[in-house]
């Protein structure tokens, strides 16, 4: 279906035979929605439309204060040092990239005059370069003009290892050339189908050359601007106290008409998610709070007759259970879960399949995630173009029991199934986090009914997610049979998310457990599909390859998806925030306003 039909449609849009909107409608009909369409059309040779902005205010300012509450506070304001989303949010208020992902996963031009496409000459046909045209007349907050030099400098700054920028991976493999004062070209070494990584989104924020030029490399920490940013954003910097407060004021020279709406900006941090929800929904002290990791039941109760509401954005974040393909109990050359071993239980596909049947996703959604989750059979859940429709899931203790019976796993005297002296006993680990412990309990219960004994283990998040080589409890060491966590999708492209399971990414002692293939799953077909997809410039073929990867993971039961998680925010009733599942909460801050 994908190949020919889509191609005809794309050609149709190109020739003007098919209306853009109708095209997207058809896609939705086919179960392949919005964010895909854009990149697809872009490489297919149709200019990316800017999503119609519902922004209503007709003049700049006059909106009073905008008060935000982040329960984990930004600790620094340099986007290229931002270790977490909180820091990216704080930096993004002042700094801007060429473009941001909007609600539908379209690119929304910020500092760029237009989104590159094949039509406007922005994208090269071979997929090896992107040319960005800069919006003329943009000024830094200190009045200096914004030019191509700043973008080139940002690339030099971030790609210098001595700078210790966290965004280095985005910039080190590209070259950025200045064509003229308002044009830069990003050149890739290899054909790169996903060209919108550099200068887009959180790590795309551009720094002012005139203030950072002396602080490139080893001196990066000394720049006074790290704590007092001078950017191009809708709000100008006033004050910053790490982990406590950011204040800004309206930028009267902002480069977008009628924007921003608010006169002052305040981001307060600290506390916990529940009380943040209270401050928005119940007392109305604040206008918007981020990342509402609060049980849906509580949110529903707060929302009754409150001053605010919760809002949701669909992205590709997936909470899932990962199966260990190697033996966590045998030590070879000083490492357990060595790729040289085979898992004694999971080497039988029946056990893996049975386990997938025992994860009651409906119950988990109903009792734990509520409106913030969707059930899914897929590991890859977005953008829609990449979502497989070939997969399915179900919950059935009976079927699982039958599957195990047929495979020769018979219940022993203690009710636990065994075969050839091997008992079906599993160690199930995850990080300490309310919903995760509840999920563990639900899975354990179902497993017990089917004759599988599950031992639960929870590790403090700071240990579980750490890169500590010496600690056996990290999720990368994976010294357990199954483990559960979430992988966020930070951009509307599956490249990075899927590459994790390539066999060259296996986590082991040799690479100090820095590999991302924690299940140590090795599948030549999957490897080949990933390798092909990485340099495949034909969007349709590329999507098909990633769908194939997802399906291979599903067939082999490498992971058991638990929940496709949505982003949740709490907003005052009158506030109109712009939230996207493909971007950070403040990536489209310039478009926020309040309904009178």
């Amino acid at each position: 279906m994908l190949d020919t039909e889509l191609r005809t449609m794309i050609d149709g849009v190109k020739d003007g035979r098919v209306d853009r909107r109708a095209f997207i409608q058809r896609m939705i009909g086919l179960g392949l929605t919005a964010p895909m369409a854009t990149q697809l059309l872009a490489i297919g040779g149709v200019a990316m439309a800017q999503s119609p902005s519902p922004y209503k205010p007709t003049k700049r300012g006059g909106g009073g204060p905008l008060k935000l509450l982040w329960w984990q506070g930004p600790t620094l304001l340099n986007p290229h040092f931002a270790t977490g989303t909180k820091d990216q949010d704080g930096s993004r208020v002042f700094y801007e990239p060429f473009a941001s992902w909007d609600v539908d996963g379209n690119l929304n031009a910020i500092l760029a005059a237009e989104i590159p496409s094949i039509e406007n000459g922005g994208l090269s046909a071979d997929g090896k370069s992107v040319t960005w045209k800069i919006k003329p007349g943009v000024k830094w907050h200190d009045g200096k003009p914004f030019t191509a030099d700043d973008a080139v400098f940002t690339w030099e700054y971030a790609s210098d290892p001595a700078t210790a920028a966290v965004s280095i991976a985005v910039y080190r493999d590209i070259t950025v050339e200045k064509i003229d004062d308002l044009t830069v070209r990003v050149v890739f070494a290899k054909p790169t189908p996903f060209w919108a990584a550099a200068f887009v989104g959180a790590y795309g924020c551009i720094l002012p050359k005139h203030l950072f030029a002396d602080y490139k490399g080893a001196k990066s920490r000394d720049a006074a601007t790290n704590l007092a940013p001078v950017g191009t954003g809708a709000y100008r910097f006033v004050e910053f106290k790490p982990g406590d407060l950011i204040r800004g004021e309206i930028n009267p020279d902002y480069h977008m008409p009628n924007r921003p709406y608010f006169d002052t900006f305040e981001l307060k941090s600290g506390g916990d998610a529940v009380s943040a929800a209270r401050a928005i929904i119940q007392t109305g002290e604040y206008d918007y709070a981020w990342n509402m990791q609060v049980e849906d039941e509580i949110l529903l109760r707060l929302e009754k007759g409150g001053k605010g509401r919760t809002i949701y954005a669909v992205g590709g974040d997936i909470e899932f259970i990962m199966l260990n393909w190697t033996d966590p109990n045998v030590e070879i050359d000083g490492e357990r879960s060595s790729v040289k071993t085979k898992h004694p239980l999971f080497s039988d596909p029946a056990v893996r399949k049975a386990l997938a049947l025992l994860v009651d996703r409906d119950a988990i959604q109903k009792h734990i995630y509520g409106r913030a989750g969707r059930t899914t059979a897929n590991y890859l859940n977005g953008p829609a173009k990449f979502v497989s429709t070939n997969t399915s899931w179900e919950f059935s203790v009976e079927k699982a029991a039958k599957l195990l019976d047929d495979a020769g796993w018979k219940p022993g005297a203690d009710g636990i199934r065994e075969k050839d002296g091997k008992k079906l006993k599993l160690l199930y680990q995850t990080s300490i986090n309310g919903p995760r412990q509840k999920t563990q309990a639900i899975v354990k219960q179902a497993c017990q009914k089917a004759g599988i004994d599950v031992e639960l283990k929870s590790v403090v998040a700071s240990v579980f997610f750490s890169s500590d080589v010496a600690n056996p409890d990290t999720y990368a060491h994976f010294y357990a049979d199954i483990e559960m966590f979430q992988i966020p999708m930070t951009q509307p492209d599956p490249g990075l998310t899927m590459k994790r399971y390539h066999s060259r990414e296996v986590a082991n002692k040799e690479n100090k457990w820095q590999g991302t293939n924690f299940p140590r799953w090795v599948n030549a077909e999957f490897d080949a599909a990933i390798d092909a997809a990485e340099n495949e410039t034909d969007p349709v073929k590329r999507a098909a390859l990633y769908i194939k990867c997802n399906d291979l993971m599903w067939q082999d039961t490498v992971v058991i998806p638990v929940m496709h998680r949505l982003k949740v925010g709490a907003s005052a009733n009158s506030l109109r925030p712009v939230m996207s599942g493909w971007a950070n909460d403040l990536d489209n801050l310039q478009d926020w306003y309040r309904e009178a």
Binding site: A169, G271, P488
Partner: protein, 319 residues
């Protein structure tokens, strides 16, 4: 006396070194690193994290890291925070005024409640007032601050809508309104902390008073015909307050240390919340600095308490 102080100060040096060594080792052995948040970000390959660890010296052996820290600290360089890449001293100084204001006021409130209530209860032991004060004191120190804090928020912010429960350091007002707001937002945290402190202190003051009030010299003073109030204030309190003053002196470091739980509940940007967020983020330089400064203050105020004790009660001689 001066010799005594000098000797105590000299003894403090090895004990502080010992404290810093223990703190450092415990922190270094604690699992996790400040860049764990990067781990789940698919845009950041693991080698970036490794490079950052190496750059910040996290991969050096512990003894080397300790020596580096100690040498820098001795020269007044407190290092920089891994999470904000800001100098630790700036970070602490930024938080100090708020902590001093909130925790200081709560200590004052505690004293203002505890001393009169304790003294009055002791003058009439087992009276109705004493019973009520005792009961309240028991309730007060049995209820943890995280419970009373949330209770206060639910009652005064959510139900009655009288007080804000998010503490802001920057109040957008000037003059009398600024002062009013500043007081208004501090009411709840100060109450929560102050009453908790007051509860245990009341019990302490009461028993100290009871110890003294029974002594013969008090009876003598009364027999001389001195007024009751005068005897209580001039004769009894003066002696009963000696242990109370030392207790207060030992409490003062806590004023600088902040209150982790209460600060977290009310979002007060004080030292306590800095400490807890740094611990959670494995931000070793900040944790080291805060805990070490706290240790110094404890040692220092212990010394002050001892000196005060000798000064208030000349029977105790310091040698």
């Amino acid at each position: 006396m001066s010799q005594y102080i000098l000797r105590r100060l000299l003894i403090a040096i090895p004990s502080l070194l010992g404290i810093s060594l223990v703190l450092f080792i415990v922190l270094a052995l604690a699992p996790g690193d400040p860049f764990s948040e990067l781990a789940t970000n698919p845009n950041v390959p693991p080698e970036v994290r490794l490079a950052l660890r190496a750059k910040f010296g996290l991969d050096d052996p512990i003894y080397l890291r300790y020596v580096h820290w100690l040498v820098a600290m001795a020269q007044g360089d407190w290092g920089f925070s891994f999470t904000s890449r800001m100098n630790v001293d700036t970070l602490i100084l930024q938080r100090l005024p708020t902590t001093l204001y909130v925790i200081g006021s709560s200590q004052l409130l505690a004293l203002m409640v505890a001393i009169p209530v304790g003294v009055y209860a002791a003058t009439k032991p087992y009276s109705l007032f004493d019973q009520v004060a005792n009961t309240l004191a028991f309730i007060g120190f049995s209820l943890p601050t995280f419970f009373t804090g949330i209770l206060f928020i639910l009652v005064f912010s959510v139900k009655l809508d009288w007080l804000p429960f998010v503490y802001t350091t920057d109040i957008n007002a000037t003059g009398i309104r600024w002062l009013g707001e500043q007081l208004r937002q501090a009411i709840m945290p100060v109450m929560v902390l102050g009453l908790f402190q007051a509860a245990s202190m009341t019990r302490f003051v009461r028993s100290a008073m009871l110890d003294v009030i029974r002594l013969d010299y008090v009876t003598t003073a009364r027999a001389k015909g001195l007024g009751k109030a005068r005897v209580i204030v001039r004769h009894v309190m003066r002696n009963a307050m000696i242990p109370v003053v030392t207790l207060i002196a030992l409490q003062i470091p806590a004023v600088f240390g902040g209150a982790i739980v209460t600060e977290q509940i009310f979002r007060i940007p004080g030292i306590g919340s800095l400490l807890i967020s740094s611990i959670l983020a494995n931000d070793t330089p900040v944790v080291m600095a805060v805990t070490f400064v706290f240790a110094c203050l404890v040692v220092f105020f212990n010394l002050i308490a001892d000196v005060l004790y000798g000064w208030l009660d000349p029977r105790i001689s310091l040698r």
